[in-house]
Amino acid sequence: MTKANINKIVKSIVITGNGTNCEVEMAHACRLAGSDVVDIVHISELLHGEKRLDDYHFLNLPGGFLDGDDLGSAKAGANRIRHATIEGTEEKLYDQMTRFIRDGKLILGVCNGFQLLVKLGLLPGFDGDYLTQTVTLSFNDSGRFEDRWVHLAVNSESPCIYTEGTKCLYLPVRHGEGKFIVRDPSILTRLHKEGRIAVQYSSDKDGSPTMDYPANPNGAIDAIAGICNDTGRIFGLMPHPEAYLHRTNHPRWTREDLPETGMGLIIFQNAIDFIRRQVI
């Protein structure tokens, strides 16, 4: 399908199956943010060629436990995307994904979706290498899965298009494997230098990045909570923006004056607006 055929209609896809579990609220977020078409697509529909990534602009990889995270978070899921072929063809799902990136389209991975992006090598994706894994997300220092709300400091220098116009965010983390680790120090240096670190766990007191538990819930190095690729169009983060779409999602909504719309929605609005402005 050519760009002209899409007709300025923003189309979002949320991939589900094999253990994802945040697809409904992620699709809801896309809809609230103004996406004209939002499809929750089971991975089997992609693998059977019934749906194609090429027909969408915004790819959402939701949280969950792909294959139970049995081989390490998203490991078996990454193996599937990397090696599974589309029924009756030689094409791999991964080919559709790299083409999606080449076309300048947007990918958002949350929690397990972030783990998937990292383990596929799509993030940080230095120098257009989308095959080599250079960072990872490993077990929390606490050794526990935890559900708690965290403050995030947004890096204004980052090319990340999703966080544009925001300074801080307050969102829940819900994971057991969220500790960000790099292969070697040069990777970390480069992440900093290129502004790839879009969001960091921060102290609720002064908003600065922190290594203190529980503000930094997993011991991530340099408090890294989310990173993006060089164009800022691929973004992955551990906290869940789709879990805070309405003020009643906030843990203290009964005691604080809060805007009707939750803070997580901006991530999706920025994505949809960007697509309308620059992708279509």
Binding site: G19, N21, C22, S44, G68, D69, L71, N79, A243, T248
Partner: protein, 998 residues
């Protein structure tokens, strides 16, 4: 041949699991220990080249950034003891299954190459340990001997070059498939022996009924036609044992009971279930008339009520006590994924939207000698917690609330209550979804997991006490991802109308799921040879009753079968046709061409006569406590806040995802620092409406030490008042009754059976009285009647326990209220009357007493208060509201203050009370139907007007303004003498509350 791939963390990188194990070794086992490292081991039972294995190890099995691997070698180095733990043959290995699938995808699937992957884990310990200590670490912490095997290797016996020899836990056994026939025409002794030896849990009388059935000449004639003789087949015997088990048939709840109330009155109760539970619901529904919210009660796997015009709600709570006693992790995991299938298999099938869990354990710091075969309570606590964590989190269902109860008697059996709610469209494809139908000719289809020997005799086993010979196979390990894949598929099939009927495979496996649904058509013809097996060697009867997890049974119109199977194949879910439903009147089971069971449906389901039981009540008389009031009330309050039944459960709550699905409104932890204990959960199941659901639980086993009637009444009141405190109203509230009892059948081993049965009768009478009084119908329930431990001369019975769970609708979630104090200057109210009801309270327990006067619920007054309070909350007049339960007013006031990060000045003399002359009793009495509420002075007038109600009211609601919220962070109490009784900083109170289980 078998290969080993070992995967470990690179040098210098943390090993979070190793660190956690190290902490547990030193803190729980008190063994001094150095570093602990872990190595994951994949044993691959198949032929692969080194290149292929490298591809697998470097690809899906390891993370190159942090891990390294070795193929057919050893990573272990620099340790003093090595302990490797793996599963025993036949135990579900979820990780192994995922690894095999990943390998197939990576290397290509080939029919010539079948292989399996088995996982194990090495723990490398540093430290000067002896063998005895290493063995203790293996058996008391790392491995559960029942399902796992382990090897302990000291450094000096280790050869790095050789490493560990691959061990494959292959299921071996007779490949000969056989059906056995058992002669029941034998004497009584021999009949009983058959039941005992086969773990059938059938009584002599029941065995005699089977014998007599087979003696019937017309039955013999019918059997002859299908090639069966006069003897019963193993398939028939096992199937009947499942269907007639206490677990499936609720024999005690359906019994005829002669109840003697101990004061000379005797009455005959024809089924507690029919009279007290179903009877009350029926009355409530009639009274509600057009406003009746029930759609399906007591007939399906779960109850169904209306949510709004377009959607219905489904709710069920189950227990999984016996398996959790043997294997806490697997038992509890199976408990949660098992109860998930109940709402999923109710009506036409519901999407699962919340879990709620209640656990009852012995204290984790138990330090006396453990009776034989009992795991340490801490292990049970940790294992159950983790099992439910994995089951709930991986299924993507939020665990929205729950509670933990501690009592030493739960050593005998822990109680693991798992509840799940679902939502479904009221109509699908033009048909109502809350009913079930099956037509003769519909195909019997099983989907999901395969069948193994796991879980055989689960139903009959849980109908017995825990004893020496409790079977290993009774334990299963659930696989949430296989189930998630299946439920994703079945929801699609549901919306396309591809099946006619759905039910789950739980206790009793196919024999129950097919046996029960076959009643809808009038019979079945089931071929067990078609069933997909995990491994060969299962006998037909084992296939029939296996409780292997993640399976649903469906009835499918033959015209839709191709579409159904195609969708299943596409979504990678196994689905198999196993036969068809008929109207033959017969439960007919074949293995290929040979019949393995041929039973009349009527006999199978109605052949069991009612039990006749006797119950005799005599109220226990206990010593009246004598102890002086505390010299330091602040200290006493802190002691109370630290008690296991009162303290913060945050460490557990945080490990459950309570927000997935995006509809979280009132979380289990609320307040200024997100750490206050909320009373009930509120969620929005549909993200485009403000209509919401309130879910709450009530449970108070201690009160049954005095009178199970009041125990049950208080459980109901607690559940209802928790829901009310958060914003529910009595108009749209339904309940689930879930009884866990100790064996109430009088026998040689249970000499006090008549008393325990009287407790059951009394609890049921309370369910009847209070559900009717509140107009809250029970829509489903469950009972687990054999929660005892009996080995050698030790017998431990749990305290009789009713968990009452409620589900309600809140019209607009923005009206929900949380328990934390909101603003300085708000007025603090105590609603409801405090009475001298100290019996079985936490305050008495702290002093080692039980006493005689436990709280009693005055339903009339309570109902008036709940109605008024719901109105006030609906009008937005209430800033915070917290229920008073364990630890009474003192605890509720402290929690309200510290959750809000604010202080309080309280005058206890103002508290509405009756018959109390001690401040400590006023503070810690657990009188029911009370709240601490805070209200802004702007709303005071209107709030009080609503509470006062009509002037003509003969029994007004008790309430009083007792103080004020302060910015100064101290809880200050003035006693009845108007002297300052205590003044404590809220930080200290909170610290006391948080330290116990942190």
């Amino acid at each position: 041949m078998a290969h080993r791939i070992e995967i470990g963390f690179k040098e210098g990188l943390g090993d979070a699991l190793g660190t956690k194990i190290k902490r547990r070794i030193s803190e729980h086992l008190h063994i001094p220990i150095g570093d602990v490292k872990t190595v994951d081991v994949y044993t691959i039972d198949g032929s692969f080249s080194y290149e292929e294995l490298t591809k697998v190890a470097a690809g899906p099995l390891s993370d190159a950034v942090i891990q390294h691997y070795v193929i057919d070698g050893a990573l272990a180095d620099n340790f003093d003891w090595l302990i490797e733990v793996g599963y025993r043959p036949g135990v579900t290995d979820n990780v192994g299954k995922t690894a095999r699938e990943a390998m197939e995808l990576l290397l290509g699937r080939s029919p010539d190459r079948t292989f399996n992957v088995h996982t194990s884990r090495q723990y490398l310990l540093r430290g000067t340990l002896g063998r005895e200590e290493a063995e203790r670490i293996a058996t008391n912490l790392l491995a559960n001997d029942l399902i796992e095997r382990y090897e302990v290797v000291p450094r000096q016996d280790w050869d790095t070059d050789k490493g560990m020899t691959p061990f494959v836990p292959r299921v071996t056994g007779a490949d000969l498939i056989r059906s056995e026939e058992i002669d029941l025409d034998v004497n009584e002794e021999a009949l009983s022996a058959i039941s005992n030896e086969r773990v059938l849990a059938l009584t002599l009388e029941e065995m005699q009924i089977l014998r007599d059935y087979l003696r019937d000449p017309t039955v013999r004639e019918e059997r002859k036609k299908v090639g069966l003789g006069a003897m019963i087949t193993d398939g028939e015997l096992e199937c009947l044992a499942q269907t007639w088990s206490e677990h499936c048939k609720h024999k005690i709840f359906n019994a005829i009971i002669i109840y003697d109330d101990g004061e000379g009155c005797t009455e005959t109760i024809n089924s507690l279930f029919k009279t007290c539970i179903k009877g009350s619901t029926q009355q409530i529904r009639e009274k509600m008339g057009a406003k009746d919210l029930c759609l399906s009660v007591f007939v399906d796997n779960a109850g169904i009520i209306r949510f709004n015009e377009n959607y219905s709600l489904v709710f069920k709570v189950e227990t999984h006590n016996s398996p959790s006693a043997l294997d806490p992790y697997g038992g509890a995991l199976t408990g949660i994924v098992g109860v998930n299938r109940d709402p999923f298999g109710t009506g036409y099938g519901a999407k699962l939207i919340f879990n709620t869990d209640v656990f009852c354990f012995a204290p984790p710091d138990y330090d006396k000698t453990l009776p034989k075969r009992i795991l340490h309570p801490r292990r049970i606590y940790e294992g159950v917690r983790e099992g439910v964590e994995h089951g709930g989190n991986k299924s993507g269902i939020p665990t929205i609330n729950g509670c933990l109860i501690f009592d030493e008697r739960f050593l005998g059996k822990p109680l693991v209550y798992c509840g799940t709610g679902g939502i479904m469209p009221a109509m699908i494809q033009g048909k109502p979804t809350h009913t079930k139908e099956i037509c003769p000719g519909d195909l019997i289809v099983m989907t999901g997991g395969r069948i193994g020997k796991d879980g055989i005799h689960g139903a009959t086993f849980s109908s017995e006490e825990l004893h020496e010979g409790s079977p290993v196979t009774a334990v299963q390990i659930g696989d949430p991802i296989t189930q998630k894949k299946m439920t994703d598929f079945l929801l699609k099939a549901r919306d396309l109308g591809l099946y006619r009927c759905i039910t789950d495979n739980g206790a009793g496996g196919l024999s129950s799921s097919v046996g029960e649904t076959a009643q809808l058509s009038g019979g079945c013809d089931l071929d067990l040879k078609c069933a997909p097996l995990k491994y060969p060697g299962l006998n037909p009867w084992e296939i029939l009753i296996s409780e292997s997890q993640e399976r649903m049974t469906l009835a499918i119109d033959p015209v839709r079968i191709d579409a159904f199977l195609a969708l299943a194949a596409k979504m990678d879910v196994e689905a198999t046709v196993l036969g068809k439903y008929t109207d033959s009147g017969v439960f007919h089971v074949r293995y290929g061409n040979s019949t393995v069971a041929y039973l009349r449906m009527d006999f199978l389901h109605n052949g069991l006569p009612q039990m006749n039981l006797r119950a005799r009540w005599s109220p226990p008389r206990r010593e009246e406590p004598v102890f002086p009031p505390p010299a330091d009330t602040g200290q006493a309050l802190k002691q109370m806040l630290s008690r296991l039944n009162i303290c913060s459960k945050e460490s557990v709550v945080r490990q459950y995802d309570h927000e997935v699905q995006g509809g979280s409104v009132v979380k289990p932890l609320v307040g200024a620092m997100n750490d206050g204990p909320s009373d009930a959960a509120v969620i929005r199941p549909l993200l485009d409406t403000y209509e919401g659901i309130v879910v709450a639980n009530g449970i108070c086993p201690r009160y049954s030490d005095i009178d199970a009637y009041h125990m049950a009444a208080c459980a109901i009141d607690e559940a209802v008042r928790n829901a009310i405190a958060t914003g529910a109203s009595l108009d749209h509230l339904a309940g689930l009754d879930n009884f866990c009892w100790c064996d109430p059948v009088q026998s040689e081993k249970t000499p006090d059976g008549e008393y325990k049965l009287a407790q059951l009768v009394r609890a049921n009478k309370a369910v009847y009285d209070y559900t009717i009084a509140y107009g809250v119908p029970c829509i489903s329930g469950k009972d687990s009647m054999k929660n005892d431990y009996a080995i050698d001369n030790t017998r431990i019975s749990i305290p009789p326990t009713l968990l009452f769970s409620v589900i309600g609708k809140i019209a607009d979630v923005r009206q929900a209220v949380t328990m934390d104090a909101k603003r300085a200057g708000d007025i603090v109210y105590v609603l409801g009357e405090t009475r001298n009801e100290m019996g079985a309270s936490e305050w008495y327990a702290l002093h080692g007493y039980v006493g005689n006067t436990c709280p009693r619920v005055d339903a009339e007054k309570a109902k008036r208060l709940y109605t008024a309070l719901a109105r006030a909350i609906g009008k937005g007049l209430v800033a915070s509201c917290h229920d008073c339960s364990d630890g009474g007013l003192g605890v509720a006031l402290a929690e309200t203050a510290f959750a809000g990060g604010l202080g309080m000045e309280i005058d206890l003399a103002m508290v509405p009370q009756e018959g109390i002359d001690r401040d400590d009793y006023l503070l810690f009495s657990e009188s029911q139907s009370r709240f601490v509420a805070t209200v802004s002075p702007d709303h005071q007038k209107e709030f009080e007007e609503i509470l006062r109600g009509e002037d003509s009211n003969p029994s007004p609601v008790a309430y009083a303004a007792v103080g004020e919220i302060t910015a100064s962070p101290f809880l200050s109490l003035r006693g009845t003498t108007r002297e300052i009784l205590m003044m404590e900083s809220i930080a200290d109170l909170k610290a006391a509350w948080q330290k116990t289980l942190s």
